[in-house]
Symmetry: C2
Subunit: 271 residues, 2 copies
């Protein structure tokens, strides 16, 4: 064994063919994570928040299991109170732990409101956020005359009669690539405001209305602002073709309110 | 106005035609209640429990609204951690509060894990428990290899492969009127152990298995013991026709374990 090979074993924990930068990262592990965001400040650490972040809880648990400090890269940095059915996050490690054992260990040590659905080895080039082709967010509205005791933290309660047909028709104006500034939180710095919405579906089952939005990216609060505008349309507060006009205006003040975080869930990330 | 009429107005708060016992009770109001039982000691007050009972929370809230101390009579006295989608409870009052206003006031003042779905005036003879013809309890099992962050308090997690066909076939032995002593909590005094199961259905949707049991009455822990026995059958731990034999034995030790309260929900009371 050459000296170069030996030193790379020491640094990486696994044998490497060459001594480039990638070898230092060893493995790239992809997690699919379900969480109830109610008791967290969101995915990322927030200054001035007393609540923990989901990211730090998982990173600390990983450190206990693999004895290594790792940094999780998530597909979507969900806000405080927002849930996930399948958030995706990856991390680099030199640990040799089998993926099945890692999943069992994580689910054994994580709190009951954060669980890992899948663990997979992926290519070293995989990046949860940059490799993602699209994300699907779901906004759930409870539409009846009393709120729900059983779904209290997972739906937005709306007691008003909603015209689902009008919501569906208007929502189609959002399809395709647009400048979504009108649906972006006013207090956040500008990122590229152009996003492509591939699909928007509004379905009703019993008292629950689900708004599913698939896009190549989301501006800050975009999903919650679109849901807030659609509810106003459902209540008959906007004239016909309003959504198209609001979108074209790029003016946040013309759109509806930002709905509660509790109704929002990251349901899928597509690669 | 005669003296008798006057005195009855004073006692009842509403004019009465005659001065019999029923008039003292004024109105009989029926509530349909949804609750998340996680943070309660059950429907009834429990000695030595630090948690509140659902009954006392609603009774105190009613007292605030109608200014009268009332006693709620429930259809099913659910245990600690057991949920309800439509528990039924009635109370007698002399209050004249309109039912729509009572519902709004209750839902405004009740905690977010107890909500009132419906308020109705019913005949003075109506008794939530004794008038009930049947109750439907649902036991929900999450059947996959990791527990759920989003449904953590509302499902029982079972990672083992289950033979749903066998569970369905065996469950049919419970239909009809039987002595259900084999499925009754061992530490409780004997009530009439004969109950009639009208319907038992086992359905699977995605990772969720629902066991719905409709019966004219349930012994203590009966639904959770039946679910526990059915899971053992699904796992292949009992030979064919075991459920029939266990039922006939009247021996609690032969049946499966009592499953977690979190998986159980009172979904309907039939009158």
């Amino acid at each position: 064994m050459s000296r170069i090979q030996k030193s790379s074993i020491v640094r990486c924990g696994i044998p490497q063919r060459n001594n480039n930068k990638r070898c230092l990262r060893g493995r790239n592990i992809k997690l699919e994570i379900e969480y109830d965001g109610t008791n967290y400040c969101g995915w990322q650490v927030q200054k001035n928040s007393r609540k923990k972040s989901i990211q730090e809880v998982i990173e600390k648990t990983l450190r206990k299991i693999i004895g290594e400090k790792v940094k999780l890269i998530a597909a979507g940095r969900t806000d405080a109170g927002v849930h996930a059915l399948a958030q995706v996050a990856n991390f680099f490690t030199r640990s040799k732990i089998p993926k099945a054992r890692l999943k069992i260990a994580l689910n054994g040590l994580l709190p009951k409101d954060i669980k890992v659905a899948r663990v997979n080895d992926v290519s070293l080039n995989f990046h949860s956020r940059f490799s993602a082709k699209a994300k699907v967010y779901r906004y759930t509205i409870l539409n009846r005359d009393y709120s729900s005791a059983l779904l209290k933290d997972q739906v937005y309660y709306c007691p008003y009669t909603l015209d689902i047909g009008a919501m569906r028709r208007e929502s189609q104006a959002l399809l395709g690539k647009h400048n979504f500034l009108a649906f972006k939180a006013a207090d956040k710095k500008a990122k590229n405001p152009f996003k492509r919405i591939n699909r928007i579906s509004i379905t009703k089952k019993g008292d629950l209305i689900r708004i599913d939005i698939e896009a190549d990216g989301f501006l800050y609060n975009m999903a919650r602002n679109i849901a807030g505008t659609l509810i106003e349309i459902g209540r008959g507060r906007f004239v016909k073709a309003s959504l198209k006009r609001i979108l074209a205006s790029k003016n946040r003040r013309l759109a509806g309110p930002t709905l509660d975080a509790r109704g929002l869930c990251l349901v899928r990330v597509k690669y």
